[in-house]
């Protein structure tokens, strides 16, 4: 199946000379939840802004549903709903008016039944006649989602949807996103929270300094998460790993007082028992041990550092 969004050789250089995006190539599959991870200033928002028509690309092409975002911007943009990171709202409008406005702006004829459904799904129905200025931050965020959904988009961009949102509300937001995916909407979300990507995404992309450095199925990424590391603190300092232990690929610390061993918790056998037996046979005495699991965060941090 053709991708719903395809980004090819996309670069963005700002007027100041700052290169925000550098030759980005990315394809988003129809119906998936794609999480775009990256530190602040990595280019997440710039990438979204270009796809949505808020910023002009310097080089490269983007197509949404096969429509070029520049030449065929009407068709491309009609398919997209955008929820930006900042809470930009018309403070003195009512919820109903602002959501209806968005639908008209995107070229759709009035459909009160649809607006009603969107507001009910987002638990905003009883606030429909309230002015936005009177709503809490979490409600404002949901108003922005309602605006983005008012014109029945096929692709939804959520830029940091749960930034500054409490745990309860974040869980609620996840449910909304899952329900949307179930209704056939493709979702691209950016986030700082790795937990969020783990919880929600089908695929994860990592962007840093304007470059996509990894795109992977979450399942594959989670397999890497299955890796654990065992550190054995030695009673006596050793200079080299005894040859009998070569098969374990142990790593000796600089001071010679600890060795580390990588193993897979999801494997048939971890090899820990035999390692300990072999260590004793080799006359290495252990004073302490600890284990550590590499998280998505570790993978992320190491990826970002490499660049």
């Amino acid at each position: 199946m053709s991708p719903i969004i395809s980004v090819s050789n996309l670069s963005k250089v700002y007027g100041s000379g700052f290169k925000a995006l550098n030759n980005i190539n990315l394809e988003i599959r129809r119906g998936e939840i794609f999480a775009l991870l990256g530190p602040n200033g990595a280019g997440k928002t710039t990438l979204i802004s270009i796809v949505c028509g808020i910023a002009n690309p310097t080089h490269g092409e983007v197509a949404v549903g096969g429509h070029d975002i520049i030449k065929d911007y009407r068709a491309a943009r009609s398919m997209i709903g955008l929820v930006p990171q900042e809470l930009h709202t018309d403070a003195f409008e009512t919820v109903w008016a602002t959501v209806s406005f968005s639908r008209g702006l995107f070229g759709k004829s009035k459909n009160p039944a649809h607006i009603e459904k969107v507001l009910k799904d987002l638990s905003l129905w009883d606030k429909k006649d309230n002015k936005i200025v009177t709503l809490s931050g979490g409600m404002k965020r949901r108003v922005m989602i309602a605006k983005a959904l008012s014109h029945e988009p096929q692709v939804l961009f959520l830029d940091e949807p749960t930034a500054g949102v409490d745990v309860e509300l974040r869980k609620g937001m996840w449910e909304v996103v899952r329900a949307l995916q179930a209704s056939g909407v493709t979702i691209i979300l950016t986030t700082h929270y790795l937990e969020e990507a783990e919880e929600m995404a089908d695929r994860v992309g990592v962007i840093n300094r304007g470059e996509i450095i990894l795109v992977e199925d979450k399942a594959t990424l989670m397999q890497k998460l299955g890796k654990k590391q065992l550190t054995l603190h030695l009673h006596d300092r050793i200079d080299t790993i005894p040859p009998a232990l070569a098969a374990y690929n142990l790593e000796l610390s600089g001071d010679g007082r600890a060795v580390t061993y990588d193993y897979d918790t999801k494997g048939d056998r971890t090899g820990i028992t035999s390692l300990l037996t072999d260590l004793r046979n080799a006359g290495v005495r252990i004073s302490d041990l600890d284990t550590e699991q590499s998280s998505l965060e570790d993978i992320f941090v190491s990826l970002v550092r490499q660049v």
Partner: protein, 253 residues
Amino acid sequence: MNLHAIRAIYLFEMARTWRTLLQSIVAPVVSTSLYFVVFGAAIGSRITQVDGVSYGTFIVPGLVMLSVLTQSITNASFGIYFPKFVGTIYEILSAPVSYFEIVIGYVGAAATKSIILGLIILATAGLFVPLHIVHPVWMMTFLVLTAVTFSLFGFIIGIWADGFERLQMIPMLVVTPLTFLGGSFYSVNMLPPTWHTISLFNPVVYLISGFRWSFYEIADVSVALSLGMTVGFLVICMVIVARIFKTGYRLKN
């Protein structure tokens, strides 16, 4: 053509007008009434006729123009500057609308508002002085052309402005002086030759002259020239707006 979008923007902007009714409509009407009291009744009673028209009557077209010019600029510049300021512009830029449609929505609403205001001020003037309009169709033509032209001009200012100070600067420092010196309160023919020549470089002279002609058939410059200058300014503003959108100036970067 995304008619739904034009309608949405237009109605949104008009809703803002009704919401701020006091400041949008009532304030200009009050200030114009003060002009009539001061210049029309108090000082005007000591001034003989200008070009065969009593002074109070003479200043009516100029006062209407004064309000229409400043209000068109203020409405349109604020209309587009505010979404930029609060950030809601993201939605306009990401919507499937052409630049032309955005301009029709914003400028159309701003012009509508100042035309309504101009007519209200005209009606208010009727309470102070006897009014007669020789060419009502031309009067409306000049009113609409001026409102649209200066709303476009205001739209440009709103995009260019990066702070409230700049938003106020052009109307206060450029447009108001030009309007006062453009013959709102006098005929430029009353000026000494040097000042008369200088006045002819003021575009507002042509707007007011043509507008006044439609009322009383008296004009400082020929009507054709007035019309030509007004349309000329309209075209200049359209070209600038087209360039702004083409380059994304102050909107997309």
